[in-house]
Symmetry: C2
Amino acid sequence: MALDDTLLPALLDAGLLAETGVRGVYGRSARFEDVLQRFDAYATRELAVEEAELIRFPPVLPRSTIERSGYLKSFPHLAGTVFSYGGDERGHADMLAKVAAGDDWSASQTMTDVVLVPAACYPVYPYVAGGGALPPGGRTIDVASYCFRHEPSDDPARMQSFRMHEHVRIGAPADVEEWQRVWIARGLEILGRLGLAAESAPANDPFFGRGGRMLAANQRAAELKFELLAPIAQSGEGTAIMSVNYHQDHFGSVYDIRTADGEVAHSACLGFGLERVTLALLVRHGLDPDRWPGDVRHELWGEDR
Amino acid sequence: MALDDTLLPALLDAGLLAETGVRGVYGRSARFEDVLQRFDAYATRELAVEEAELIRFPPVLPRSTIERSGYLKSFPHLAGTVFSYGGDERGHADMLAKVAAGDDWSASQTMTDVVLVPAACYPVYPYVAGGGALPPGGRTIDVASYCFRHEPSDDPARMQSFRMHEHVRIGAPADVEEWQRVWIARGLEILGRLGLAAESAPANDPFFGRGGRMLAANQRAAELKFELLAPIAQSGEGTAIMSVNYHQDHFGSVYDIRTADGEVAHSACLGFGLERVTLALLVRHGLDPDRWPGDVRHELWGEDR
């Protein structure tokens, strides 16, 4: 996405976001948060057309999960690993001296067993695998959390820490493929009713390095990832506010998830980027939600205006 | 708190929490999450007796904030710092080889500009400082987020990643001191109506090292920290489910926050530990919320039963 560099200052001026001093890490005002929560409640009602098991994971997950998942192969540059201090009082005094002097104190830190959640669905696959073979028809899981990606940017649509609400479908290949197809269409309809996301497009993830270019091309050619786009930058280029991803047997193989018939399960997920949808609504309808069109307010707040 | 080692297995068996493979990092089931959200809505209604400015920060905050705040001096062992990969493709191949071999790959990671939020109020002080001198009467901020503390444990009341909902009061010393007094009493009342927290007790934070013992003793003697306790371990020892902390001029001095009169501001905060309250309710009233006493259900779900 091309960055329209007037958007962030406008959001800060309007008191919708607050700076913290780190690019891509913002406070959310009451007004911003209200829009986000109202959209999430709306999305929750729309997602309820299918039955899903709700589970919530915290914003950290076991390091072993991303070691196994392939995430470090594809996105090493985005992953956030958690370190901590495990030393004694002498080492502590040394660390504090470095902090006070503004020196690098990273050598005092050692890697822990947890990393930051890169997408809300990552904890779901080992969780489902732990439940044994899938029931006939597979499983659908509702999950949401703060996610982290280390990509400092002044683009408010590319925050380092943001929320994602997902449904994850795990089952027989034909069921999962059909589910992906259905949800691309439903997603357009759900977002369209709010004046957003007029188009879906095959897309690719931001794979790392030269080898990543091949992975990206393959993903796009096989139409495994679709993004639903809305203009956030006022330059008009679309930013993904929802994506629907078909992983084929990737997670099924990694975590040995089996269908009721003993096949390796396929999986897909759909995810709303909650900050991005909020930004898309603000760009589409203006920075003052009190003045949004009556039909959009009605969908979100249940008000007739 | 003494750990009653039957509680975690009971919570897992009842499907209230789900293991991830790391101690202190759990999935929350729909039922657990419903209790937590209902309590948070109840607490929000009770907190509304005072007007507060709502702002929400993500679960990471600038490293510079905790470098300045004194957190690393007092709690280096609990802080989680975020590292990431900033190298090239050759380094990436080396890192992946280590991951595949199960070797230590921490040397591939470098420290980023962010750390995990250790308590929901930490981002508030620089935010308030950025707003200039306080208005007459000071400011009260409503904040909530996932917090991280690196203390792996099998005690479900000592999770590594958990939610905290806080009010933060910043103003003239006499106002802040009075606020602390008032909210200890109100906290007992709010929790008491749910059958929880029969007692408040002066407490201390888990300061690091030998020097920390002095800090802890001083904090306790000056009655700066009060914990509202409920039995979570069935052994009956109390665990803090809410705490009310008076920081005197600590954050005011660190971030140069001034009252309308130009004095260094004092601050205090109250915080509900949302997972701990949920656990305390489950221990107090049983693992099946459908069978809780009618008055408790009425407060939380608005149902007469």
